[in-house]
């Protein structure tokens, strides 16, 4: 049984590493996003190996179903998806690599040293079930949980601000024909040259030719 788990862990690890490498190395950013999804999927498998079913499912639901899809969504809307002229690695990649490795080591080395490698404890089935996670969030990790929530809220507000168009620069939305006619009616309640006509329903209130579709805000006032 252990051997099977080990093999599966190895395969999953390879998948995660390979996918992560592809994320940073492929040219096409859509492909990068798709590799990212593969990477997330591998992590979900890792959770499963740890008997953390709930976490695995949440990982799939949130990271693949929501985060990755949103990333894809955003990426697809960008203009340049695949530019063969752009080098994959930018110029100072060596120093960047060095910094990355150092940072990674700064996290990993203490972990390796502090971890007790000798004992392999099979985690309990209820290691990370919904109940345990709920208790953990509401007790031990309440503060981080709240901070994360505030952070998300801030992100939400930021997104709205970014998405909101600038009031000054904003284009007035396109007027429909009915709006245009109503606007014209407001501006000139009764056409003076045609006041001889008793019926407002007559065809005499023929409009001037259709104005351009876009009206600037300044003009509208």
């Amino acid at each position: 049984m252990d051997l099977v788990v080990q093999i599966m862990f190895g395969v999953t690890g390879l998948l995660i590493l390979g996918a992560a490498l592809m994320v940073v190395s492929v040219r096409n950013i859509i492909h990068a996003a798709l590799w990212l999804i593969a990477c997330f999927f591998g992590i979900a498998m890792l959770y499963l190996l740890l008997h953390a079913e709930f976490l695995a499912i949440v990982q799939v639901l949130l990271y693949i179903g929501a985060v990755a899809v949103l990333v894809l969504f955003a990426v697809m809307l960008t203009r340049q998806i695949d530019d063969p002229d752009e080098p994959v690695l930018f110029q100072r990649w060596r120093s960047t690599l060095l910094i990355a490795v150092l940072l990674f080591a700064a996290v990993l080395v203490p972990t390796i040293y502090t971890h007790d490698w000798q004992t392999f404890t099979d985690p309990q089935p209820t290691f990370a079930g919904p109940r345990e996670l709920g208790f953990a969030f509401m007790n031990a990790y309440l503060l981080p949980f709240q901070i994360a929530a505030v952070l998300l809220l801030a992100a939400l507000v930021g997104a709205i601000i970014i998405a909101m168009e600038d009031q000054e620069q904003r284009r007035v939305r396109v007027l429909t024909l009915a709006e245009e006619v109503a606007l014209r009616r407001e501006r000139e309640p009764s056409p003076p040259a045609r006041s001889a006509h008793p019926q407002p329903t007559s065809s005499s209130t023929t409009p001037p030719p259709v104005p351009p579709a876009h009206e600037q805000a300044g003009e509208g006032a």
């Binding site: 040259a193 045609r194 001889a196 006509h197 007559s202 065809s203 005499s204 023929t206 409009p207 001037p208 030719p209 259709v210």
Partner: protein, 173 residues
């Protein structure tokens, strides 16, 4: 919109006479007086106006006679007489018969002022007449071919357009 009001049209003078009478007083320069000895084919009882005065006449017809519905615009090629005739047909929403305004332009210089500034209804009519007869409507914002493809050469409804053969097809074909 009561149902009781009597039908109007028949009690009045015919729209054609009305128009001729009114134009004679208001826009006398617009009317074309046709010679009496015209060939049968191009003799007409309808009001013929000068091409230049057309927008004025139409504006007058819409505003003061109430004929605001541009129903039809037919171009006719009288090739033997060297002219194009444009038949503008107006109706009144109030009912009754048509009011016809005819414009005659020489075949070699078929320029007519566009009605687009007055009536958007003229848009497709004028494009059609341009496409099939080559009548140029001065002031039309989008005077392009409508049925034939853009590369097409010639105007297929003209009487002198070859009825057979394929050499008239433009380069694009």
């Amino acid at each position: 919109m009561a149902s009781t009001s009597p039908p109007l049209p028949n009690a009045r003078p015919s729209p054609r006479d009305l128009l001729r009478e009114q134009l004679a007083t208001v826009l006398p320069h617009a009317l074309v007086t046709l010679p009496d000895d015209l060939p049968d084919l191009i003799r007409t009882a309808d009001v013929v106006v000068h091409a230049d005065a057309l927008p004025e006449v139409v504006q007058f017809v819409i505003d003061h006679l109430g004929y605001g519905l541009l129903s039809d615009l037919a171009a006719v090629d009288y090739v033997e007489h060297g002219l194009f005739e444009l038949v503008y047909r107006f109706y009144s929403i109030g009912g009754g018969g048509d009011l016809v305004i005819k414009v005659r332009v020489p075949r070699d210089q078929p320029d007519v002022p566009s009605l687009m500034a007055i009536l958007p209804a003229a848009m497709l009519h004028e494009r059609e007449a341009y496409d099939l007869f080559g009548i140029r409507f001065i002031g039309h914002p989008n005077l392009r071919r409508i049925y034939m493809w853009d590369e097409f050469e010639g105007f297929p409804m003209r009487k002198d357009f070859p009825k057979q053969g394929d050499n008239y097809i433009g380069e694009g074909a």
